[in-house]
Symmetry: C2
Subunit: 403 residues, 2 copies
C-alpha cells in the first residue's frame, strides 16, 4: 500500500514536469494514475493516450484515406478505420521514456497536428512519453532552477549566425563572482540543438542533481552540428544516417568505434565542427559566460552521431578537453589517445537493447588498464532513444569536474 | 543600382536572422536574392520555396493519395499530382511576413514534416516567411543581444507548473544594480507562450530598438493563457475561436470591443487569468528578476484574444498596470476606464486588411478627448497575422516607459 501511494505521488510530479517542459501549461490537465493523455499533447487532446500497461492508443482523423499507419520509432503499424472517419491503433507495451512517432496517410509521411513537434530523423516528428517509476531525476520539482537560454552567436567558420541553447546552474545569477566548468553537449544525426532540452530534459536533470548536492554545478552548451543538405521533399524521408553504434531497436546492425567522414568530422582540428568549436564557439562562450576556461574544466559529450563528433573533436584537441562522454556512439581504445596525461575521464554508454552495449565495459577496462580513467554504463531495457541518454547524462554528470 | 545593392545586403541579414531564429543553423543555407527556400525549412529542404514575386511553391510527397490540399492561413488549395508521387501548388502572391500552413491529405489535416512546427489554430502547424524589404527591425543583427529564457514557475491559481518565456535586455547581465520595467505580452487564441518569440521575434525587435537608442530597455514576460480543453482528435481541428476582432482574411467578420466570458476572462480581478497574474505571476517575476515593480513601470499587451485578455486584466487592475496595448483585438472606450489618472497610454492597432482597422483611430481620438492618452496604429497591407503584430510591438515599444 505504501508503495502504491509513493508511486502515485511520484507520478503526479513527473507528469507536471513533462507537461511544463513540453511548452504547454494548463490548469485543466487531469493527472490520472493509470490511463492518461501523453504529456506532449496540445490543447487537451486525449490521444495519444498512455494505457496503464504502457501500451499507447493512437487516434487519427482521416475520413477519405485508404490506409493509415502510425510509425512508432520508425516502424509503421496499420491502423483500423472506425465509423466516424477516425483510425485507431493500440500498440504493444512501450519502453519507458520518450518516443518519436508520426503518421503515414496513403503513403505520405505526415505529422499529427495533435502533439508538439520534435526534431528527429531529419524531419519534424511527433512524440509521446511513457512515465518511468525511476524517472524522478528528470521531473520538474520544487527546487532551484537554472536558466535555459536561447542565444545567437556568429560563427566565422560557418559564416552564419547560429542559435544555441545554454544552461546555467541555479546559483549562476546569485554568485556573480563565481566561475563554472562547461560541458559541450551534442545531439544525434537528423536532430538539432533543441533535443537535449526538449527530449533530453538536461536542465531538469542538472537542477535535481544540484539540489541534492550530488554534482559540481556546470554550464551546458548545446550547439547544432554541421547540417547535411538531404531533402525529404520530393520523396520519402531520408533514413536515419547509417552510423556506427546507431543501433536503435533489437536486431539493428552492430555498432563500432570508427566514425566516418560525414557530418564535418574529417579534416584537421577535429573536422569542420571541431574548427568551429575552437575558433568561434568556445571563445564566444568563455567571453559571454563566467566560465572556468582551462582544459581541466571543459567537457564534451554527445549522443549517437554526437558521440562520434565528441570523439573526433576531443581526440584532436586534447589540450582543450579533459572529459569525454560518448552515449550510444562507439568506444575509444587506448591507441586512439595521443597524450593520456590530458584525459581525466572517458565515459561510454549504451542502452541495453542496443548492439554496442556489450562492448563498453571491455572498452573501459582496456582504457583503465592503460592508465586512462574510464567508466562504462548500460541503461537497463532502453534502446537508441532518449531514455538511454537522459540516464547517461545523469551518470556522466555525477563524475564531472570532481577533483 | 544603389537601391538594389542595399536591398540585397538587407536580404542577407534578414534571411540569416530568420534562419537562426527558427531553431536551425546551417553553413550550407544558400541565400538567394530572389527565389529561396523558406527559412523555417528543416534540413535543407527546398520547399516551401519563396518565389521572386512572393508566390510560394509547395511540394508534398503522397504517392497513394486521391486528393491533397495545402491550407494557407486556413484556406485550402488543391495541389496537382506529378508523376513521381509528388504533389505541387504555387500560390498567389502572399503578404509580407510569417504565415501558417498545413496539408490536407484525403481529408486528414496533417503537418508537413519538412518545416519547423508552430503552434496555431489550437494545433501544430507549419510556417513560411515572405521577406519584407522594411523588415530589418526584426532581423538578427550584429548588435548586443538580450537573453531569451525558458522558465518554469508554480501557479497556485492554476495548481500547476507553467512554462514561460522571459526576455531580458542586453545590458541586464552587465548593469547588475539596474532595475527594469516589465511588459506582460499575451499570445492569441489557439496559441501559447512560444509565439511571441518564434513568430513574433520579440527579442530581435527589442534588441534592435535598444541598439538604436530608440526605446527604454524593459523585460518581457510571455505566459500561456488559460487553455480550453477542445480536442481535435477524434474529428477535424477546432476552428480558431470566434472572438471579436479576430478577423483574419479579407471578408472575415467585423471586430468589436467586448470580450466574452471565454478563456478565463470572466469573474473578479480580471478573471482567472487576471487572478493568476496578480497572485502568482507578477510576484514571482518581481522576486526573480530585477524589476521596477511599481504600477507606472508595468505594461500589458496582447494579440487578438490576448488583446481582449489585456483589456480585461488591466481594466480590473488599474492599480497594477499603466500601459495597455491591444493588437488586433478590439478597442477601449472612455466609459470603460474607472480611474483615468492611472492610465499612461492605451495603444490600439490592427492590420489594414482586418475589419476593425477602421475603428482604432476614432477610438483613440475619443480617449484622447476624454483626457486619456491613446495612440492608434494600422499596419499597411497585413491581415490577422504576425506581421501586423511585429509592427504593432515595435510601435508600442517606442512609446513605453518614456516619462
Amino acid at each position: 500500500m505504501k508503495k502504491i501511494i509513493l508511486f502515485f505521488t511520484f507520478s503526479v510530479l513527473t507528469v507536471y514536469g513533462l507537461f511544463a517542459q513540453s511548452g504547454q501549461a494548463s490548469n485543466n490537465f487531469n493527472v490520472v494514475d493509470s490511463v492518461r493523455p501523453s504529456p506532449y499533447n496540445l490543447y487537451g487532446n486525449q490521444f495519444p493516450r498512455i494505457e496503464a500497461d504502457r501500451r499507447v492508443t493512437f487516434k487519427f482523423y482521416a475520413p477519405n484515406a485508404q490506409k493509415v499507419q502510425v510509425s512508432i520509432v520508425n516502424v509503421p503499424y496499420d491502423m483500423t478505420k472506425e465509423e466516424n472517419g477516425v483510425w485507431t491503433y493500440t500498440s504493444e507495451p512501450q519502453d519507458l521514456g520518450y518516443h518519436n512517432y508520426w503518421m503515414v496517410v496513403d503513403g505520405a509521411v505526415v505529422v499529427d497536428p495533435a502533439t508538439n513537434g520534435f526534431i528527429g530523423y531529419s524531419h519534424l516528428c511527433n512524440g509521446f512519453e511513457i512515465p518511468d517509476p525511476d524517472g524522478g531525476f528528470y521531473a520538474l520539482k520544487d527546487v532551484p532552477h537554472g536558466n535555459v537560454l536561447l542565444k545567437n552567436y556568429y560563427s566565422t567558420v560557418a559564416n552564419s549566425w547560429r542559435q544555441i541553447f545554454v544552461y546555467t546552474p541555479p546559483d549562476y545569477e546569485q554568485n556573480i563572482q563565481k566561475r563554472y566548468p562547461v560541458l559541450y553537449l551534442q545531439h544525434g544525426g537528423g536532430e538539432d540543438q533543441r533535443v537535449w532540452i526538449e527530449m533530453g530534459r538536461t536542465n531538469l536533470i542538472l537542477d535535481n542533481l544540484i539540489a541534492e548536492g550530488k554534482i559540481t554545478p556546470f554550464i551546458v552548451v548545446m550547439e547544432t552540428s554541421a547540417v547535411t543538405q538531404r531533402s525529404i521533399v520530393p520523396g520519402p524521408p531520408a533514413p536515419r544516417p547509417t552510423i556506427p553504434g546507431a543501433a536503435g531497436t533489437p536486431g539493428a546492425p552492430a555498432g563500432g568505434s570508427r566514425p566516418g567522414g560525414m557530418f564535418g568530422m574529417s579534416g584537421p582540428g577535429g573536422g569542420i565542427y571541431g574548427q568551429l568549436m575552437t575558433t568561434d564557439l568556445i571563445p564566444w562562450v568563455d567571453k559571454t559566460f563566467r566560465t572556468l576556461s582551462d582544459q581541466k574544466n571543459r567537457a564534451m559529450a554527445g549522443l549517437s552521431m554526437g558521440a562520434m563528433q565528441t570523439r573526433t573533436v576531443t581526440l584532436a584537441n586534447l589540450d582543450k578537453f579533459s572529459y569525454i562522454g560518448m552515449f550510444s556512439g562507439g568506444t575509444i581504445a587506448p591507441a586512439d589517445i595521443t597524450d593520456k596525461s590530458k584525459v581525466r575521464l572517458i565515459f561510454m554508454s549504451y542502452g541495453s537493447r542496443e548492439r554496442g552495449s556489450e562492448s563498453v565495459k571491455a572498452a573501459a577496462d582496456a582504457l583503465n588498464e592503460a592508465g586512462i580513467k574510464s567508466v562504462s554504463y548500460v541503461s537497463p531495457l532502453t534502446a537508441h532513444e532518449f531514455q538511454s541518454w537522459r540516464r547517461s547524462l545523469k551518470e556522466f554528470a555525477l563524475l564531472l569536474f570532481k577533483d
